[in-house]
């Protein structure tokens, strides 16, 4: 209310100490990953017997899984429990690939949600977020890196991650012929329908999604930076129309991306809720990350334009969309539970009746129970320490959400949570924050010519 002095020219400085800390995180991540790999390689000698023992302890589940899998049934395949098959790669390598893919999907989501958040604010002509919009903007810079990693991983590890890439599934009359996957081949291999080789359609979609998202991001960013120099309302209106188009594009592309990158791992299975499910998980994790970065910047004494009212709104966003995520999760679960169609319910059987059970319940506790109870009161959303704790809980929780979507379908009984997963995640954290913070430091932290900045300064709820 009083005339407070703001520093509109403040800049985030990515100090050498902070760089060093990130480098340490990355190096420790690499070391932990190598330790994990060595541990699993060693345990693989005599692996056959131990695996047999593990299989027999899970005999009930295996039988249930096998019988409820129509593809394996029809093809008369051997006792492979879930629609995976043993591939050339040893367990440690497969686990490394799967972990890389899972982290890449998760961090791609965080990056694209940065763009999506800015677009939502512009399309809604929201003023409150004008003070910290550089933070979600900087998150978008991870997109090209994520795209390169995704393309590279597909070429290196595609056969280990995606069951449908095996061409012998489509040989009619062959020993591995799978009528269910064969019926879906157009989705992956179009236009090469007759002799599936390279998944042209699927791969083209991946390239298009990353390029389109990145193109919209650089356009929005370009106008955002021009606004700093030129002022006036032209950049604002330009960004608003770009944002509106991006939202429409993103609605379609995010949904198809979820089918392509996550749902196609469980090739037989399908869920009409899945696009929403992945989006809601990305969205709430992205909001938590924006909150976390804003709170950390405030702790550093930056972002004087952001006060408790803005933090309160961010907290409400995380609170509300945690409930939204739970709603989507439950909508998917209830229908599958009630219909009880084997080809659908296998997805949950794989996750509840196996050693993934603890993660399954942990997912619900971290992503719903904690944010719901901790963010219930007004005061908790206005205090930085609370916001920081809940944002970290939600980020960890949604990491496990993606773990649960991707690992059981690819690794089956060989999957686990250990050094490899932690190490790869630390490498990704180091790289992601390095890219984001470097770009955050490049321009002034506050968009001083944003036409709604004045409104943001007086934001009060």
């Amino acid at each position: 209310m009083s005339e407070k002095q703001y520093n509109f020219d403040e800049k985030f400085i990515f100090s050498p100490a902070a760089r060093k800390r990130l480098a340490v995180v990355g190096i420790i991540g690499i070391i932990i990953t190598i330790i994990g790999v060595i541990l699993i390689m060693n345990s693989e000698s005599g692996h056959e017997t131990s695996e047999q023992a593990l299989r027999s302890t899970n005999a009930d589940t295996s039988a249930l899984l096998a019988s409820s899998d129509p593809g394996t049934f029809a093809a008369g395949m051997s006792e492979e429990p879930i629609e995976g098959e043993s591939h050339g790669s040893p367990t440690w390598l497969k686990r490394l690939y799967v972990s890389l893919w899972q982290n890449n999907i998760f961090f791609t989501g965080l990056a694209v949600i940065g763009v999506f958040f800015v677009a939502v604010q512009y399309a809604a002509q929201a003023g409150w977020s004008a003070g910290f919009k550089r933070v979600p903007e900087a998150m978008g810079y991870w997109l090209p890196v994520a795209g390169i990693i995704a393309v590279g991983l597909f070429f290196i590890a595609g056969k280990d991650i995606f069951h449908w890439t095996h061409t012998d599934l489509y040989v009619i009359g062959g020993p591995n012929f799978d009528p269910v996957i064969n019926a879906k081949k157009g989705f992956f291999f179009w236009p090469a329908d007759e002799h599936p080789g390279f998944p042209v359609f699927w791969f083209a979609r991946m390239i298009i999604f990353f390029s389109v998202w990145y193109w919209f991001f650089i356009q929005i960013r370009k106008w955002s930076l021009r606004e700093d120099v030129e002022g006036g309302s032209k950049p604002y209106f330009k960004m608003r129309s770009l944002s509106a188009i991006f939202l429409v594009v993103f609605a379609v592309t995010s949904s198809i991306a979820a089918w392509d990158w996550v749902m196609s791992i469980d090739t037989h299975w399908f869920s009409t809720m899945f696009g929403w499910y992945v989006f809601s998980s990305w969205w709430v994790a992205g909001l938590a990350l924006i909150t976390l970065i804003v709170v950390i910047l405030k702790d550093e004494g930056l972002l004087s334009v952001v006060n408790a009212n803005h933090l309160h709104d961010l907290g409400k966003f995380v609170f509300g969309f945690s409930i939204f995520w739970m709603y989507i999760w439950f909508s998917q679960y209830l229908l599958i539970y009630f219909a009880n169609i084997p080809e659908e319910s296998i997805y949950f059987i794989e996750r509840i009746s196996t050693h993934y059970k603890p993660v399954f319940y942990l997912n619900l506790i971290l992503n719903f129970v904690f944010p719901f109870l901790l963010f219930m009161t007004r005061e908790s959303k206005r205090h930085r320490i609370f916001l920081k704790i809940v944002a970290i809980i939600v980020l960890v929780g949604h990491w496990f959400d993606f773990y649960l979507m991707i690992t059981p379908g690819t690794m089956q009984y060989d999957g686990g949570f250990g050094f490899i997963e932690i190490g790869v995640t630390m490498i990704f954290i180091a790289m992601f924050f390095y890219v984001v913070l470097t770009n955050l430091a490049k321009v002034p932290l506050i968009a001083k010519n944003h036409p709604l900045l004045e409104e943001s300064l007086h934001h009060e709820i």
Partner: protein
């Protein structure tokens, strides 16, 4: 109807002026009954020293009532009174009960909150509204002061009204 409430009413033209006036009046120890304004004046509730509403607490309690009521109802119906086989599921199974529980929680908390608000704000049906000045829905900010609870006399308060820039000063008795 006999008169039992005596008010003095200051009318202000500008939201900035009324905000400063409220601060000044409260600093002088005047207890303000209520300020009516045609739009939300930022910082006015703070200047009036209002405590935060306890409505969320009532919402929580009503919501919990709804949750418990819905679960008890369904457990009794499906488990005790008339078990029905629906899709081969257990008679008492939690997942299908969740949507009903959710709706019931929201219904009761919403109705409970509206009811609580109406009781607290004295908004009962057929109540004759105490309208201090009809222009408070148009372009005037109306500050009403209950003389019975104030130590200062009417003249002193009116003088303060005058000093803080009120455009009109009226008496209003109900």
């Amino acid at each position: 109807m006999e008169i039992d409430k005596y008010y003095t009413v200051g009318i202000y033209d500008d939201d900035e002026v009324v905000l400063e006036a409220v601060k000044k009046l409260r600093a002088e120890g005047v207890k303000i009954f209520e300020v009516y304004s045609p739009f939300a004046v930022h910082g006015l509730d703070h200047a009036l020293g209002y405590k935060r509403t306890r409505l969320p607490i009532s919402a929580f309690l009503f919501g919990m009532t709804g949750t418990i009521l819905a679960l008890t109802m369904m457990f009794y119906m499906m488990g005790v009174d008339w078990p029905m086989n629906i899709g081969g599921k257990n008679f008492v199974a939690l997942p299908p009960f969740i949507p009903v529980t959710f709706e019931m929680t929201i219904l009761l908390s919403a109705f409970g909150m509206v009811g609580t608000f109406m009781v607290v704000a004295d908004l009962k049906p057929f109540k004759k509204p105490r309208l201090f000045d009809p222009r408070c829905t148009h372009d005037k900010h109306v500050v009403a002061i209950d003389l019975a609870v104030n130590k200062l006399s009417k003249e002193e308060i009116n003088k303060l009204f005058d000093e803080t820039g009120a455009s009109e000063i009226h008496d209003k008795n109900f």
